[in-house]
Amino acid sequence: MKMFTVSGSPHIHGENSTKKIMYGVVIALVPAMLVSIYFFGINALRVLVLAAASSVFFEWLIQKYLMKERVTVSDGSALVTGILLAFNVPSNLPSWMVIIGALVAIGMAKMSFGGLGKNIFNPALVARVFLLISFPVAMTSWPKPTPLTKGIADVITGPTPLGIVKEGLKAGKTMSELRPELPTYMQDFIGNMGGSMGEVSAIALILGGLYMLWKKIITWHIPVAMLTTVAVFSGILWGFNPEKYADPVFQLLTGGMLLGAIFMATDMVTSPMTHGGQLLFGFGVGLLTILIRLWGAYPEGVSFAILLMNSVVPLINRGFKPRRFGDNPGVKIKA
């Protein structure tokens, strides 16, 4: 007689899979990858490939030989982490530092907690902050973009727009004095400015974000809450004193703001589970980012802000529950 399978319902499964989600993110990252290779040349490619390959390799190594469990590197999450790590470092970072970054991201921030889905902090950002603090010099010398079309020029390093503003204001200059030193908004938008690889081109990042929204990989809540907070908060300060504070458009387009908002704060593993919680999370990231940018020692605050908010995600998840069915009956219920 035929042996049937028995199992609980449901008996069918949708199209979603972890793999699809992760490779969807990779696809969304392609435009930004191309832009960064265009502006930073072969070096960008080196860092990208190295970071991605070593992330995947470390995950494989740890799963196979340390944790001795089913190897799931093919799900693509390590690849995403690797690419995002590459996006968060300057394209001229020495190779061995990139490899250390991958080891920190995968080994420390992800696998120590048990692997995909169990980590508290965003692995790529842990690695970035780790590198930033470990190698302050290498991590803050940003190559100037030299478009591929103009041949392979010497790598000249220079400060990021945020660095220029931070230093300038500290030195007592005003925003209008600094403006000529800064790239134009158009340059910000296209990506023709100094910075880490992934944070330079607003348009490419937004394109990727739209793709992920369309594919339902992310929802709008975190990016919108975060960017709105930044715009409003920096807008108020700017309106208050435009010479002392940079304008909101500048704040939104520079640094890792968009990369963070679209690709890193949205990492589902390390962000809250409900829309309400996500709005709060985005708000917190935005607020902390601006606080750190304006008053902290670092010119850039997105990474820290996201990590700080990552740490309170378990608390947010406790407080923010989905709207339960039945709590608003829509009609008076007799006791």
Binding site: M1, M3, F4, T5, V6, S7, G8
Partner: protein, 323 residues
């Protein structure tokens, strides 16, 4: 020069004395009594915090014993199954009481529906939880009383005393069982029972819990109890009763004469830790070659050294999902 030493002595001494005085008064004024015996009892307990005693932890058990001892001067109904008589004796000593011995018990799995005896009729796919499967269907072998083999009991055991051999799919209890009863609680089908270990670990029991009519029972499992009543008749000590086609041996009455074992047509009655006797190849016994082995199982099975961590993974649903 001596001045500084003098001042130090005065100041520090002063601070010390003032603290002492204040503390003394505060302490005597706000006194709360706690029985020091509780700590002493807790110290002799095994600190397994398994809850086998029925209290939420060793400390709670210690409190309960101290209270009962001081109020009623006995410890009736309080027993630490893990520590057993030795520990209870010590507890008694601490509390100044005599403790009656309780006969040692062991968990017994009353099902022999192995892959061989009760071959699968469907394939189960789902979580490794007997409780879940119990609510869903009969079980792969088709017996709706029998073991589901997903190891809730194994997960429940704090002592690594029960495991499911890969080729059997039905658990086996090891000798280090402390009779804490956690597995009994965990099994949704009430298959596991705490029984007396018996003299020299010898015990006899019916390894089946199927309450269906014999014909149905035997269809799903070749070693099921069919309620034929032969054992009941042969038992001279009234130890066996049959209710809803299922035989049960009262371990308080059973004298381990082994007569019932011989008459059982389906080999549903197990004798454990007896010397293997000459197997009379009569009736159905020749049908199954491993009969002697199957019956005197506990001692023989013990050497199967499956690493403790591994046991939980041994499930009879190869396709099942378990993290």
């Amino acid at each position: 020069m001596d001045n500084i030493i003098l001042v130090s002595v005065l100041v520090l001494g002063g601070v010390g004395v003032v603290s002492a005085v204040i503390l003394y008064f505060v302490a005597s004024k706000f006194k709360v009594y706690e029985d020091p015996k509780i700590d002493e009892v807790e110290e002799v307990l095994p600190s397994a915090n398994c809850g086998g005693c029925g209290f939420p932890g060793c400390r709670a058990f210690a409190e309960a014993t101290a209270k009962k001892a001081s109020e009623e001067h006995n410890l009736d109904g309080l027993f630490c199954p893990v520590g057993g008589n030795d520990v209870m004796k010590k507890v008694g000593e601490v509390l100044g009481l005599e403790i009656e011995e309780q006969e040692p018990m062991i968990a017994v799995v009353r099902c022999n529906g192995t892959y061989e005896n009760s071959p699968g009729k469907v394939k189960y796919e789902g979580v490794s939880s007997c409780s879940f499967a119990h609510a869903m269907y009969t079980g792969e072998g088709g017996c709706q009383y029998g073991c589901l083999g997903l190891g809730d009991c194994v997960d429940a055991c704090e002592f690594d005393a029960i495991y499911i051999p890969e080729d059997r799919g039905v658990p086996i209890v090891k000798d280090n069982c402390t009779a804490c009863g956690a597995c009994v609680e965990a099994c949704p089908r009430d298959i596991i029972e705490l029984r007396k270990r018996g003299p020299k670990e010898k015990r006899i029991y019916v390894s089946c819990v199927n309450k269906e009519k014999g014909a149905v029972a035997i269809k799903n499992c070749s070693v099921a109890c069919i309620g034929c009543g032969k054992c009941e008749k042969v038992c001279e000590f009234d130890a066996i009763t049959i209710t809803s086609f299922l035989s049960y041996i009262d371990f308080n009455k059973c004298k381990l004469c082994r007569k019932c074992v011989e008459v059982c047509p389906t080999n549903a009655i197990w004798e454990v830790n007896f010397k293997p006797r000459k197997i009379k190849l009569d009736k159905k016994e020749d049908k199954k070659d491993g009969d002697g082995k199957a019956k005197s199982v506990a001692k023989e099975e013990k050497p199967i050294d499956i690493k403790s961590g591994k046991v939980t993974e041994v499930k009879n649903n190869p396709g099942g999902n378990r993290e």
